[in-house]
Structures are given as C-alpha cells and as structure tokens.
C-alpha cells in the first residue's frame, strides 16, 4: 500500500457535519456525496483535490455524527490517506470498515504544510515528505484491524469467512 499525492491541511475537531453536511444525506450515492465533501469548511475542496491526495488534520478528526457517508465522501473524492493527530472513534472504525486508509501521526501533522507532496508506505508505516525530505514513522495497525483491511473491509471479511 503506497500512496503519493499533495496535502490538503485542516485544523482540530473537523466534524462529520462539515465533511458531509446533513442536507446531502438524502442519498448514499458515492459520487454524489463526493461532490459535497468538505463543502462547509473548504468550498473549493472538490476543485482542489486530485486522485491520490492526502488530508492532514489535527486532533479528533471526524468527530460528531456516525454517518458513514463521511469517510465514503472522502474516499470517493480521491483522497488516498488521512493523517491526523487523533481520530474520533466512530470515524476511525468506519474508515477501517470501508477501507479508507487512515493513520495517527502527530509529528507529521505538525510539520506538514498545505500543498506539500508526500509519499506514504503503509506496509512499513513510513510517511515521507517529498517537499522537505523529512521522514516519519507511524504505528502499524493492530492484527485484528489488519485482518479486516487485508480482507478488503469488514463486509468482505464476513463474506469470505475470515470473521464469523
């Protein structure tokens, strides 16, 4: 799992109401949700984001509502990896369950600036900032979580019998 892209950077407590406002929750269509991703915090997000880009954010990313539409909108908009200082717990498990790569790395978030180009090697937990040349090490996923991701998400894990 290797990703390369540019960074879109945000602060602390980015909540699921700004990631995907409730007025768009009358649909679960991935592409439609992606069109409104981050709309209330960053109206130009959908124009600025490119396939493979990264979100870097502060503490408690994804707090608030349990709407799975939030990680779905982020994934469908082309974001490959979200790096945050910490994640709200429902967002964290939703991201794992749908297969959106996320990682906690406070040191990286402190240094990374908007627009920096990053390379992330998630098999080895290494994030490299290609703009500054700095490298960061992150903690690997716990084994149980890795099993879910390796099997392509929770649904697939149950469908193929990895979790009973």
């Amino acid at each position: 799992m290797k990703y390369t892209g540019n960074v879109l950077k945000y602060g602390d407590n980015v909540d699921t109401d700004v990631i995907i406002p409730a007025r768009y929750l009358n649909t679960s269509d991935h592409a439609e949700l992606a069109q409104h991703c981050m709309e209330d915090i960053d109206p130009d997000f959908t124009e600025r984001v490119h396939q493979g880009d990264f979100i870097a954010a502060g503490l408690n990313f994804g707090c608030g509502s349990s709407r799975e539409h939030a990680p779905i909108a982020i994934k469908a908009s082309g974001i490959s990896l979200v790096i945050a200082k910490s994640f709200a717990r429902i967002f964290y498990r939703n991201a794992i369950n749908i297969g959106l790569a996320i990682v906690e790395c406070p040191e990286a978030v402190d240094d990374i600036k908007e627009g920096d180009r990053l390379e992330a090697d998630m098999d080895h937990g290494i994030i490299k900032n290609l703009t500054t040349g700095k490298t960061y090490k992150t903690a690997p996923f716990p084994e149980f979580v890795r099993k879910i991701i390796m099997n392509g998400g929770l649904i697939q894990s149950i469908a193929n019998g990895a979790i009973k």
Binding site: P21, A22, L59, I148
Partner: protein, 426 residues
C-alpha cells in the same frame, strides 16, 4: 485487576471471564439499531453478504425519524428502502410515521433495551442507553450491516473516566447543564475512545430524563459510551416500560480509571455552549446580550416529558418575544399525547410556539427549522458545529429546555433563574 461496568458487560458478551483495556474482542449483540439515514447504506452493504436472513429478527430495530415525515423525494426513497427490507426480512421492530419517535427517546420508552445489554446503533447518540446500565455505542452503517448478519461487533475494550456525582440539582437546573459542564471541563475529545462511568450519591436525585440526556451527550466528549450505575430509579423505569429482566454489572472496587472527576450537583448553574463546539460552555456571569432568531426545544437529548414540563413551566402565561420562532418537538407519540393531556401543548401554543410531530428535523439541519445565513438559535439539541442547523454562517447555542424557554420569552439568551427570579428558591 478489577473491571469497570463497561468492561464487565463486554466480558460477559464475548464469553470471557475478564477483559482489559486495549484488548480487541468480538461481542454478541442484544440490539442492532438504525435510522432512515444510516440504514439504507447498511442495507446495501448487507446485500453484499449473500445472507438470506438476519441473525435475529427481533433484535434489530429501524426507526424512521431523521428526514421523516419524508422531507423530499430522496428521503421518501430512503424510508421506502428500509420499509421494504424490514418487510422482506420480517423484522419485528420497524417503526414508521404514526408509531415512531426520535430513536433514542423511543427505544427506552418501548423497553427495547435493558440493563446489562450490549447494543450498537448506526447513530452516534446510541450511547444514550447507558443511562439504563447497558453498554451501548454508536457505529457506522457497515457495522450495522454486519451486526444484522452475524449479531456481533468488534470492539477495542475501552479504558474509563469515572464521574462521581454528589449533592442535588437546584431548581431550573437539569442534566443538560451537568453534561455541558462536564464537556466544558474535559473537552470534545476529553473522553476519546474511553467510557464515562457515572456513579455516586448524587445519582439518586437524577430522574431518568436527566440521565438519558447526560449519557446521550457522552459522545460529544468523544466517549465510546457513557454508563450509569443501576439503582432503583433505573429498575423502576425498566419495569414500567416492560424491558427484559435487568442484568446488573457493578464496577469492581479496584477497577482502573484514567481520571476521576467529582461534581457537586448543587454547584451547577444554567449553562450554555457557544458556537461551534459543545465544549464552549459558559455560565450566565460570562454571557452578554445575545439576541436570538429561533428556539428549538426537543431532540433525542431533550425531547422527553420532563423536558417539556420544564419549558412549559417557564412559558406558562408568558409570550414568545417578537421576531423569535419557537419550535417544540415532543420526542415520541407517547410523550406528545402525555404533554397534550397535561395541557403543555396548549401552554406552548398560547405562548406563541409551534408544536411539531416527532422528528430529528432541525437538529441536523434537515427540515422543520433550518437557519438562514447569519441567524442565531438557542437549542436543546446536542451539536453546535458549523452548518449543523442550516447555513454555514448561522450559529447554534446549546442549552437546557428551561434556558431555551427563558430565552424564547425574552428574545435573547436568558437564564431561567432570571425569568423566574420571583418564584425561584435558591
């Protein structure tokens, strides 16, 4: 090492003698919940599992409350998808307009959860049922789909924060003021990944509406769950609502807590959380002159009968201030009927408020009270994030039903103590 209430419930539901914080477990579920926003995603995921049946047709509930009564065609399609799925799978606890209420007021009222249960819901405020002594937590739609299929969910066993309550609340102060104070103290991520366990001598003075409100907002401090020690108030409530036989789990004396907070309930004052985070809690000595455009009294946090009674006591014989819109939403049909029989609805209507059928509507900016640019609301709901109730440049102030009612009649954010100063016994 001893276990917390939450850890004991999780151990009992994963077939283990004991569990420790950080351990990953697969737990058996007593109830799987969804609403008209989250269930459609879960139903689509469920279809990928190629399972003809759900794990137990009586242990799943879907409640059409968010964009219902249907606010537009897409919302109608989402409810229809849920209705058809529940019909096809013969799911017993499907609740539609006419029967439904706001899920987290409705589920306890209907007796669907009892003490000691392990519950997941595809709605973040599922933590409400911790007030009944259950482990109950919000998850996403994929977890809901898998829960419907196999009756299990994966959890990381949480560490805990203990909140020791003493004393008794003063008049016109409620559980909402207590929980806003707690979130103000520990912050919106102060309990991240942890459980909050409420205990202490002060518990006995808190009614079930106060407790449900406090457990409901545990998520606003980032908590995995909030849970109350079971006492006579809990047992009476469960019995009155025909819930299953309670299983009582008490924390061990040597249970480990990362942090212990002590709160003297008699010191809590009417409290308001300022935009745009629930942690921005202030009391009235620090609140200036803030005119308002709208008041919402309702939601899964504060739409229960005691909440409506508190608001009506203040609105009785008074008038809503000019240019203020007041929306009162009894959380369930039963509460609606009881409020009607008690004359509360007449009080609201004569005061100048509207009374709506049960719905989550305005709380998440869905319908029935969406805010325009620059507008300001005081609301008994649970979140004041940017754009939560409508335009990204609108503002939400969170407060108790008493404070919302006092503000409704004054037209600016006002303490119930101020409006009732001639009647208050402090």
């Amino acid at each position: 090492m001893g276990m917390t209430m939450t850890q004991k419930i999780l151990a009992a539901h994963s077939g283990q003698k004991s569990v420790t914080a950080g351990q990953l477990i697969l737990a058996d579920l007593d109830l799987v919940l969804g609403n008209d926003i989250t269930s459609p995603v879960a139903i689509k995921e469920f279809a990928k599992l190629n399972k003809n049946k759900v794990f137990n047709k009586e242990k799943i509930t879907m409640i059409m409350d968010h964009f219902a009564p249907n606010k537009d065609i897409k919302a109608a399609e989402q409810c229809k998808l849920c209705r058809d799925f529940c019909g096809a799978k013969d799911i017993t606890n499907f609740y539609d307009v006419g029967e439904m209420g706001i899920e987290h007021a409705f589920v306890p009222e209907k007796g669907l959860v009892t003490a000691g249960d392990c519950v997941i819901g595809a709605d973040s405020h599922t933590c409400t049922y911790g007030a009944l002594g259950a482990f109950s937590t919000g998850v996403g739609s994929t977890d809901m789909a898998c829960g419907m299929a196999i009756g299990k969910a994966w959890f990381k066993v949480p560490s805990a924060i203990k909140i020791n309550l003493t004393g008794k609340l003063r008049k016109y102060v409620s559980g909402k003021d207590v929980i806003l104070n707690i979130i103000g103290e520990i912050g919106v991520d102060g309990a991240l990944y942890r459980s909050i366990e409420f205990t202490g001598d002060g518990l006995a003075s808190l009614n079930m509406s106060d407790r449900l409100c406090m457990a409901n907002m545990a998520i606003e401090a980032g908590a995995k769950n909030g849970i109350f020690e079971v006492d006579d108030v809990t047992l009476d409530y469960l019995k009155e609502h025909d819930a299953a036989k309670p299983k009582i789990f008490k924390a061990d004396d040597d249970a480990e807590y990362e942090r212990i907070l002590s709160i003297d309930l008699s010191e809590i004052e009417p409290t308001v959380a300022f935009p745009h985070l629930p942690e921005n809690a202030l009391t009235f000595e620090d609140i200036g002159d803030i005119p308002i455009d709208q008041v919402v009294i309702g939601s899964c946090t504060n739409g229960r009968l005691e909440d409506l009674m508190a608001a009506a006591e203040i609105m009785e014989g008074r008038q809503v201030a000019k240019n203020v819109r007041v929306i009162v939403i009894p959380a369930t049909q039963r509460i609606y009927l009881e409020a009607m029989e008690m004359g509360l609805l007449r009080t609201f209507i004569e005061c100048g408020a509207i009374v709506s059928t049960p719905t989550c509507g305005p709380c998440l900016g869905g319908h029935t009270g969406v805010l325009a640019e620059g507008e300001r609301a005081i609301s008994t709901t649970n979140r004041n994030f940017v754009g939560r109730m409508g335009h990204p440049k609108s503002e939400i102030y969170l407060a108790s039903p008493a404070t919302a009612a006092a503000s409704a009649v004054r037209g600016r954010i006002t303490s119930p103590w101020e409006v009732m100063k001639n009647e208050v016994h402090r």
